[in-house]
Symmetry: C2
Subunit: 487 residues, 2 copies
C-alpha cells in the first residue's frame, strides 16, 4: 500500500505548527458525527468536523431515515400503544442478538424517550399514525411502523409494540434527518471543513491530539485540544477489509454513500485500538415483506426455513447466511392479487405454473420438494397453525393452483441486481458507552472517541431497521458530551 | 484490565540491559513454534523458544496428530491413489472456503510432498494402509484416512483422494508429533525456556527487537537480534476475545491445552498489526460419522440439511452454525446394528420408538415432520438417489421401524457434555506467506513474524482435520527461515 494510504500515526512533535486548531475534532459528518458535534458544541467546546465528501450527510443521508425509538413515545401513545424501556430491551436483546452489547443496549433503551424528544427539538417531526402493512419503507407519511415486533418468537419474548419512527417528509427521510442534524450542529457553533479526508491520528506520546487530513491532495494538520471523535462510518466500501473481516458481503450490493472505507477503524487499529464484532453485518435480500407473508419463502431445496411474517431483514439474513440459494417466494394467484398495489413495487413473478411439479422444473428444485412443502403447509394452514415456524394465523391460508415463483435476485421493479442482496458493516472500534476507544488491553486511549459504524454499538448478530441511525446518534451524542468534557 | 495484563509495547531504550539475547526469539512451543525454531536454527541462527507451560507441546500435543498432506505422497501411492497438487488445491479451496487465502493455499499444496518428506526426516512415519470407514479418529494404526474428499460436492469439484495422514504410534498422534518436533528443534540447536509467558513486544522505534516475559511472577527481558516469531496459538481460552470476535464458540467446549489466550494476537494488535478472519472457527458437534451416514441428521424441525456422508466437521459446523437445534441422528435398527463396534464409541440411542409419530413426541419436533422427512428419504433411497443432498448411494437404504434417535449433546460414550459442541479459533494476525506480520496499512512490521493459530492461515470459513497442524508447521517453517534471514 502506498504511503498516501498509510494509517500509521504521526507524532505531534514531527508536525510543529498545526494548520488548524479546535477543542473537539470530529472526523466524518454523518449521523454520528452530526450528533457528536451538536452535543460537544452545546457543552461549550469549540468543534470542527472534517468531512471527506463535498458536504455533510454520509451514508445516513441516503437511508430511509427510520429511527428505532420506544419506551412510550408520544407517537406510540397516539397510535394506542403502551411501551416501556424494559419491553423495548427485551425485543432488541432477542432481535439484535446473540451477543449484543447489553450494557449499551440497556442505556439505549433507557434513554430512548429522551432521544425521541431530542430529535423533535432538532425539528424532526413524526406523524401520529401507524402503517399496518408489511413493508421495508411504507409509501405513506405514517410516522410509525412495525419492525418485526409482532412476529414469532419476538411477540412471545416481549409485548408486541411498533417502534419504527419515520420522520415526516415529502422527500426522503435520511436526507431530512441529516439536513436537521447539520443545521443543529451549525447553530450550536460547530464548524466543518468539507472535501477533507482524515488519514492519520496525531499522537503526543500515547495520547491522541489531532488528525492529519488530505484536501485536494494537500496535507492539512488539525490539532484537537480536548479530543478526536472518529465517526467515519463502516467499511463496506473497502474490499480488502471485507475479505479480512466480513466476507459475507463480498460481491453483494453496498448500502452506503460509497465512502465507507473503514479509514477511521484502520486509524484506530494502527495505534492499538481493539475491535469488536468486525464480522457482524446488516445483509438483506430484495424480498417484499407484503409478498412473502402471503406465501412461502423457500431455499434452493424447496424447503421453508422461517416464518414469513418476521421482520424481512431477519428473513433475508436467514436466507443469505444460512440457507442454500437461490431463494424463491412461492405464491398462489389469490395471494398475489391480495397484495396492496402500493406494496408490490411492480414486482412480477419469474415463473407461473398450474402445477407444483411444473414449478419445480422451472426453478430447478428437487422433484417433489414443493409438493411436499406445500402439502405440509396447507395441512397446517387449514388448522390455522404453523407448527414449524409459528407464522401468525392471520397470514395462514392453503395455497391453491395456479402457482407463481418470484426471484428476489431480480430486485424491486424487476431490474437484475445480480445477487439481489446488499448490506453494510456493523462492527468497528471497541468503545465504552461514552464512546472512549479501548486498546487491546482494555484501557481507554487518551483523547480518542468513536461512534456510529466506525465503532461497535448495540448489535450482536442481528439487525433491525432504524437501529443503526438510532445507535449512531444516541452514542454519537454521548461521545460528543464526553469529548467536550476533556480527558 | 490491570497493568499485568497490558499488551502495550515497551521501548528497548526503557529496558537497558536485556536478561537474554538471541537471533530469533520464538514465543510458544507448539507445532508452529517447533517448526519455526527448527528451520531458523538449521539456517544458522541462534534460536530461543519461550513456552508459557511447563514443557513444549501446546494444543498440538493434545490433538489427534492428523496431518493434511497430499499431492502424491508415498503413503497415498502405496494405498493405490494418484494425487496432484492441483487436485489437492481444488478440494481444499472448496472445503476450506469461501474466502480461503488462495495464495497461501497454493503454496501449501505445491509444497505438500516436500512437507511430507520433512516429517519423515524428523522421524515421523505413516503406515501405508487406508482406513476405509467413516471416523473422526480411526481406532487402528492405518496411516491414511478419508477426510471428506469422497462426498458430494467435493467428489465433483476434485477427484476423490484420501489425504488424512496419521503418524504411526501406539500412543497419541499429537503427542508423538510434538515429541519429534521438540527433539528436532533441540538437535538443530534451538534452546527453550519453559514457564515463561511472553507478554509484550519490545520496540526500537517501530521495529520489533524483543519480548518482555513473565516467569514465576518476575519480569524477564529478551532481545532478538534478527526477529521475533509469535506462535502463541489462537484465542479459544479468552472469553473476552471470543465475545468480541468469535462469539459462536461462547459456551461450548474448547479444543486446546487451556492456554490459547490470544496473547500473541493482542501483542501484535497493540502495535497496529492487522488481523484476518477473526470470526473463523473450527466448530464441531459430537456426532459419529459412522452413525450419521447410516441414517438421517435432522434439525429441531425434523428437517434434513446436508448429505450425512460429508466430512463430519462440515456436517456438524453446518448444524451448529446454520440449523435450529437441538439436532438429532435418526436411525433404524438395521442401521444401528450395521455400525462397526469400533466406530460406535458406546453411544446409545436417547429414544427408541416403533413409530415416527412416537419419536416426534419424544424429540419435541413438529408432528408429522419426521414422517414427512423419512417418507421423502425412503422414496428416493428406493431409487438409489438423494436429489436433495446427493449422499452417496452406498449409504442409501429406506429406513424401517423400529426407529431410534441419538442426541449429540450426550457426547461419545454417553457423558453429558452440555452442548456437545467444541472448537477453536482459526483467525489471527495477517501475515505474508513468509509469516511477516502486516500492519493495517498493508506494510510488513520490521522484525515481527507469526505462524500457526496466532496468524490467519489457509482457512476461509471451513475446516478439515489436519489442516491446522499442517498449516501451522508448513508456514511455521517458512517463518523460521525468513526470520533467520534477518530483516
Amino acid at each position: 500500500m502506498d504511503s498516501a494510504r498509510s494509517f500509521a500515526p504521526v507524532q505531534a512533535a514531527d508536525i510543529g505548527a498545526f494548520d488548524h486548531e479546535t477543542d473537539v475534532l470530529v472526523a466524518g459528518f454523518g449521523c454520528a458525527g452530526g450528533a457528536a458535534a451538536y452535543e460537544a458544541a452545546t457543552a461549550g467546546a469549540d468543534v470542527l468536523v472534517l468531512e471527506r465528501a463535498g458536504g455533510p450527510g454520509g451514508s445516513a443521508a441516503m437511508s430511509g431515515g427510520e429511527l428505532y425509538l420506544g419506551g412510550g413515545t408520544p407517537v406510540q401513545r397516539a397510535c394506542g400503544y403502551d411501551d416501556t424501556a424494559d419491553n423495548m430491551f427485551a425485543y432488541l436483546r432477542a432481535a439484535l442478538g446473540p451477543n449484543a452489547d447489553e450494557d449499551k443496549l440497556r442505556l439505549f433503551c433507557d434513554g430512548s424517550l429522551e432521544h425521541f424528544a431530542w430529535f423533535r427539538e432538532r425539528g424532526i417531526t413524526f406523524n401520529p399514525s401507524l402503517y399496518e402493512g408489511q413493508s421495508w419503507m411504507p409509501p405513506t407519511q405514517d410516522g410509525l411502523m412495525w419492525l418485526g415486533e409482532n412476529a414469532y418468537p419476538y411477540d412471545v419474548v416481549a409485548r408486541a409494540v411498533p417502534r419504527g419512527h419515520r420522520p415526516a417528509t415529502e422527500s426522503f427521510g435520511g436526507w431530512l434527518l441529516m439536513d436537521r442534524l447539520t443545521a443543529a450542529a451549525g447553530e450550536a457553533g460547530a464548524r466543518h471543513h468539507v472535501d477533507t479526508a482524515a488519514t492519520r491520528l496525531v499522537l503526543d506520546g500515547e495520547a491522541v491530539v489531532g488528525l492529519v487530513a488530505r484536501r485536494y491532495g494537500e496535507r492539512v494538520t488539525y490539532r484537537a485540544r480536548r479530543a478526536v471523535i472518529l465517526t467515519t462510518g463502516g467499511f463496506v466500501d473497502n474490499e480488502e477489509m471485507l475479505a479480512d473481516h466480513a466476507p459475507v458481503l463480498l460481491g453483494h450490493g453496498k448500502v452506503s454513500a460509497g465512502l465507507d472505507d473503514g479509514s477511521g477503524i484502520a486509524m484506530g487499529m494502527a495505534i492499538g485500538a481493539a475491535t469488536r464484532g468486525m464480522s457482524v453485518t446488516q445483509i438483506a435480500a430484495s424480498i417484499l415483506p407484503a409478498m412473502i407473508c402471503r406465501g412461502m419463502l423457500v431455499n434452493a431445496l424447496g424447503q421453508r426455513f422461517i416464518n414469513e411474517d418476521v421482520y424481512p431483514g431477519l428473513a433475508s439474513a436467514a436466507a443469505v447466511r444460512h440457507q442454500p440459494g437461490p431463494h424463491w417466494v412461492i405464491l398462489d394467484e389469490e395471494g398475489y392479487e391480495d397484495i396492496p398495489k402500493r406494496d408490490l413495487w411492480n414486482v412480477r413473478p419469474a415463473f407461473a405454473d398450474e402445477t407444483l411439479r411444473g414449478l419445480e422444473k422451472d426453478l430447478g428444485v428437487p422433484p417433489g420438494s414443493l409438493e411436499t412443502a406445500v402439502a405440509t403447509y396447507n395441512r397446517h394452514a387449514e388448522q390455522g397453525e404453523d407448527p414449524y415456524f409459528h407464522k401468525n394465523r392471520r397470514w395462514l391460508r392453503p395455497l391453491r393452483a395456479p402457482f407463481a415463483a418470484i426471484d428476489p435476485r431480480r430486485g424491486f421493479g424487476g431490474e437484475d441486481t445480480s445477487t439481489g442482496v446488499s448490506g453494510f458493516t456493523l462492527g468497528g472500534l471497541r468503545t465504552t458507552a461514552d464512546g472512549a476507544v479501548l486498546d487491546v488491553s482494555g484501557n481507554a486511549i487518551a483523547g480518542l472517541y468513536a461512534a456510529g459504524r466506525a465503532s461497535s454499538g448495540i448489535h450482536g448478530a442481528g439487525y433491525i431497521s432504524g437501529t443503526s441511525l438510532a445507535d449512531g446518534t444516541f452514542f454519537g451524542r454521548r461521545a460528543g458530551r464526553a469529548a467536550a468534557g476533556g480527558n
